[in-house]
């Protein structure tokens, strides 16, 4: 294995174009354990952390640009981002320990393509767009279109994610993410649920998005849960409908971390609670 730390996106594109076994990384928090578990080493490990565009977090013209390799600790430390997108920032702060969060990135979390990735549901409910670079130039793709199954993405050979674009949420809008793990830290989500809720002047939901982690091969957007909410306040009836829709949308598997029945039940519970939390914040004006 070779190690390279290019200084520009163009250099990365060139390295990837010439070598199908090359692989980009930011924190290597998935790559190293996979290598230790016996996965073949890449021919070249391309360190993205020395490209400022990949690690910067900035707000320009009402859009947050989050470098794909920015450590999630940098998101947590960014008060303005946390005010705008508290659910996403909280999700980033759930990924492993402080040690992990100083390396793990949203780009890595997305492209590792684990169904249980904590930050992906929050990216999805906030309609995040991924800027993807490849030999054909750059393109912008909705985040939800990137994972296609466990360990698989829609990225073409030679492509990698450069940054995420998220529009600042409008007023009276906020998001939340909750996950269920057996311990308090250091676990992979058995189920995760993200919600984004906008409230109108009467306290009714005017827009909503709910997405689930670890209940299907990829992140699942639950339009039925959003529909159940829109036009209503986040009251018991609406929340029960959200929970039912989320449980219905879940198509989980039995594995070492949880059972089908448990995941369905908890998907509903977490969806409901995430909506309640997001709506509570939205009712306080959201981030503004």
């Amino acid at each position: 294995m070779r190690y390279v730390a290019p200084a520009s996106v163009a250099e990365v594109v060139a390295l990837l174009a010439g070598d199908p076994d090359a692989r980009v990384f930011a924190g290597a928090t998935d790559l190293v354990p996979q290598m230790r578990a016996g996965r073949p080493e890449p021919s070249v490990a391309i360190d993205l952390k020395r490209i400022s565009r990949l690690t910067d977090v900035s707000l320009t013209d009402g859009t947050w640009r989050i470098g794909a390799a920015a450590p999630t600790a940098d998101l947590t430390a960014n008060a303005a981002l946390a005010a705008d997108l508290p659910g996403l920032v909280y999700a980033g702060g759930l990924i492993g320990s402080d040690q992990i969060q100083n390396r793990a990135s949203l780009g890595g979390n997305l492209c590792n393509a684990s169904p249980a990735a904590d930050s992906v549901p929050s990216l999805v409910v906030n309609d995040a767009q991924a800027v993807v670079a490849g030999s054909g130039g750059e393109r912008t793709v909705p985040v939800i279109d990137i994972p296609t199954g466990p360990g698989r993405t829609s990225l073409q050979p030679g492509e990698f994610v450069v940054e995420f674009l998220i529009d600042r949420p409008p007023p009276s809008t906020s998001d939340a993410y909750l996950r269920l793990i057996p311990r308090t830290e250091m676990d992979i989500a058995i189920v995760g649920a993200a919600a984004r809720v906008s409230l109108d002047g009467d306290g009714n939901c005017s827009a909503a998005a709910i997405a689930l982690a670890a209940v299907a091969p990829t992140v699942v957007l639950v339009p039925a849960a959003a529909e159940a909410l829109i036009g209503h306040p986040a009251d018991d009836d609406a929340l029960a409908a959200v929970a039912a829709a989320a449980a219905e949308a879940a198509s989980p598997i039995d594995d070492k971390r949880g059972t089908i029945a448990y995941r369905r039940q908890v998907a509903g519970v977490l969806a409901k609670r995430a909506v309640l939390e997001a709506a509570g914040r939205a009712g306080n004006g959201g981030g503004r």
Binding site: P33, L180, P182, D187, K256, G258, A261, Y262, V269, L270
Partner: protein, 750 residues
């Protein structure tokens, strides 16, 4: 907090000095086995079985031997086979498979090469031809006739008639007293249940590691991480067929053991590789190997039935216990039988236990081995009786509490024990007297562990400047060096930091058994005290020479010699050691002994939990443990043992488990999915040290290392029941299982 019963005042014993080995450990200088580097050192790597059960048809090492950097390759054929009745035979067959592999992770071959990477690549290039065999993973299934057999030569012992067919059941143990039918007939309340637990790993943070340097003289030096370097020596000798005098074992600092480092895994392989390569060989396990190939504590199925009178007296107990011991039998079911009702006086009981082999890693001791699973069953049912009778659970336990002179279920009469005092300490604690917070549930449980004595040696040398060096053979896994120094300080009357406690290798100190069974401070401490008392006699003799008087005129107290007639100024220890060369030479003493009279240990614990009834997540909100230490020599480390044991029990109760797939492959061989508790999972663990001195130890010590792990499982199960009404009888009480119990309305039986 310490609750003390009639113990004398001491000057050093019971104080909390900074431990002697602490500084090296906080600056990163403490040397563990994996930290050792020798010139020319090679790296060893073990090839392990991917199959749970398979016949080894052929092993071809030729490709591996031809690879760059490879200096030696070994397989089971390179070691002699021990006779069938040799007690170490199973150990040797665990270290390197012969004929068959018996679990996924079973060692098949090993390589030494110049770099770690070369060793690993070469190990993977060894071609092993397997013939897969049917395997058995489930304890009850393995007991059935017709189950896949691990061993052709296991015929169940302890049955009423000798079996004609081999089986996976190694032995049946039975303890019986009184008339069980009569006992249940007298009962107004009868409760029963089946309790199931999974294998649990000790989870020490330091993986097994050793370095072996075998010289051309046919001798070898081993540096290793072990709870007992004399056992490393004898077991390594047994596997190699060597005389023990060819082997010197130097104990490195040990990064946790909890019973898991009372046996060996790597050392004979490293010695053999080193002998063949003519170079030192280091072997360090990965975490994955630690989980797959080193000893967990058994999974179990335990059925208990208890009867009690309306006023709470337990009249009868019936227990059926099956422990899975992994690929080779152990003593786990027997120990479970001896513990299952021991915190209670029961006149009528029938206890039977079965030791069952399955295709999983060979079990090793883990902190009060076999007792926690048994306590899970019994103390859950005792809680059920208390609820049925509307009795306080502590009062119920006090009513049935054994005292000195009562007959323990495993036979002998109880010596002086402190269970009653522990129960009273919890009953009187602020925690127990306060009501649980709204929504919280409370659980109580008690636990028993024997504690053991065994052989220990100590040498105490006085230095010319009045300091002392205390050399023992007990690896220090939790602060025992500080305890040795405290006892020596108390005896000699010099400052605890004027004493340097050292763990000696196999060639500098007398034979000492493994640091296990909560014995180091008890047994090795006894040897230290005996050597110090010998020295005090010598010091009086030297003072007599210095004063030119009869030795009977010299008294020793508070670190100085005084003349009974008052004719001489007292001589401090340093005054005497300074003159030692002129009064008869160096001052030193050695004691070697079999420590007798280990004091049984009891712990009583109370916990409050909250349960998220929609997800089944349990949060431990508050925890208090009371434990009889006999005498706490260094209270900080007594508390540390209590707290560590409790938290291991919490992990076992809530989240830890071995998960195997249908092929017998472990699915969670890492700390990500084998979930030991993290700091944010826990509250402070409040401790109450109860001191009912052990009359058989000069300072009243009982071992404190193990019993703390026994009560947490039933305490938490009882608290979850209190919070939710759901009775959980299978571990771990993880969110899915707790939610399932809540939703299916599993309450108390009956």
């Amino acid at each position: 907090m310490t609750i003390t019963e009639q113990r004398p005042g001491y000057r050093y014993v019971g104080t909390r000095p900074v431990r002697h080995d602490g500084l090296d450990k906080v600056v990163g200088k403490a040397r563990y086995a994996a930290d050792l580097v020798l010139p020319g050192m090679l790296y060893g790597h073990v090839l392990r079985s991917p199959h749970a059960h398979a016949r080894i048809v052929a092993i071809d090492t030729s490709a591996a031997e031809a690879m760059p950097g490879v200096r030696a390759v070994i397989t089971g054929a390179d070691f002699g086979d021990l006779p069938a009745d040799d007690p170490e035979r199973n150990m040797t067959r665990n270290l390197m498979a012969r004929d068959k592999v018996l679990y996924e992770g079973h060692a098949v071959a090993a390589v030494a090469a110049t770099t770690r990477r070369q060793a690993r690549d070469a190990a993977e290039a060894i071609e092993v031809t397997y013939e897969a065999l049917p395997h058995t993973l489930d304890i009850l299934e393995a007991m059935e006739p017709g189950a896949p057999l691990l061993h052709e030569d296991i015929f169940t012992t302890g049955l009423d008639s000798e079996p004609s067919e081999p089986s996976n059941v190694a032995n049946r143990t039975c303890y019986e007293r009184g008339d069980i039918e009569q006992g249940f007939a007298e009962a107004d309340v009868v409760v029963e249940g089946e309790f199931v637990t999974k294998p649990i790993h000790q989870g020490y943070i330091e993986p097994h590691a050793c370095v072996a340097d075998t010289g051309q003289d046919g001798k070898t030096v081993i540096w290793c991480s072990s709870q007992g370097h004399f056992r490393v020596r004898s077991q390594t000798a047994a596997m190699l067929g060597w005389d023990t005098s060819r082997i010197k074992v130097i104990p490195a600092e040990i990064g946790g053991g909890f019973g898991g480092k009372t046996t060996i895994y790597l050392e004979p392989l490293a010695v053999e590789l080193s002998a063949r390569a003519g170079r030192p060989v280091k072997m360090v396990m990965s975490r994955d190997e630690v989980f797959r190939a080193t000893g967990p504590t058994p999974g179990s199925v335990i059925r208990v039935k208890l009867g009690a009178t309306g006023d709470g007296r337990i009249t009868a107990a019936k227990a059926w216990l099956a422990y899975e011991s992994g690929a080779f039998p152990g003593v786990w079911a027997m120990l479970g039988c001896m513990c299952v009702v021991s915190p209670y006086n029961v006149e009528n009981f029938l206890i039977e236990g079965y030791e069952v082999v399955v295709n999983k890693p060979v079990n090793a001791a883990y902190r009060a081995p076999s007792a926690p699973m048994a306590a899970f069953a019994t103390d859950t049912l005792v809680d059920e009786i208390a609820r049925r009778l509307d009795m306080d659970p502590i009062d119920l336990r006090l009513l049935n509490c054994p005292n000195k002179g009562d007959q323990a279920p495993y036979g002998p009469k109880w010596p002086l024990i402190g269970l009653r005092e522990c129960l009273e300490a919890i009953r009187d604690s602020e925690h127990y007297r306060s009501r649980p917070a709204p929504g919280h549930g409370r659980g109580v449980a008690s636990g028993f562990w024997f504690n053991i004595g065994e052989a220990s040696s100590a040498t105490v040398n006085l230095n010319e400047n009045g300091t002392a060096t205390v050399v023992t053979g007990s690896p220090d896994i939790g602060g025992s060096r500080a305890s040795m120094a405290l006892m020596a300080a108390e005896e000699l009357g010099i400052d605890v930091h004027a004493i340097q406690p050292v763990v000696g290798d196999t060639e500098v100190v007398g034979f000492t058994d493994v640091t296990e069974g909560s014995r180091a401070t008890f047994a090795t401490g006894m040897a230290v005290v005996e050597a110090c008392r010998d020295l005090k006699g010598q010091l009086r003799g030297r003072a007599a020479r210095m004063w030119d008087c009869d030795v009977d005129e010299v008294e020793w107290a508070d670190g100085q010699a005084t003349h009974s007639g008052g004719e001489h100024e007292p001589l401090a220890l340093a005054d005497i050691t300074a003159e030692a060369g002129r009064t008869g030479g160096p001052l030193g003493a050695t004691a070697s002994l079999n420590a007798r009279g280990a004091g049984p240990a009891f712990s009583v614990q109370v916990t409050d939990v909250s349960v998220d009834e929609e997800t089944g997540r349990v949060t431990v909100e508050r925890y208090t443990t009371a434990q009889d230490a006999g005498t706490a020599i260094h209270p900080d480390y007594v508390e540390g043992q209590m707290q560590g044991g409790v938290v291991q029990g919490i992990g076992w109760a809530l989240n830890e488990e071995y998960i195997h797939d249908a092929d017998g492959v472990m699915e969670n061989p890492g700390f990500l999915d084998y979930r030991i508790p993290v700091a944010s999972d826990l509250p402070m663990i409040e401790t109450i040290i109860v001191e009912v001195p052990n009359p058989n130890h000069p300072y009243g010590v009982r071992g404190v290392g193990e019993v703390g792990i026994v009560p947490p499982i039933p305490a938490l199960a009882n608290a979850i029941h209190d919070a939710t009404g759901a009775r959980i009888r299978e571990l771990p009480m993880s969110p899915p299982r707790v939610l399932d119990a809540i939703m299916s309305g599993n309450g108390d039986g009956g």
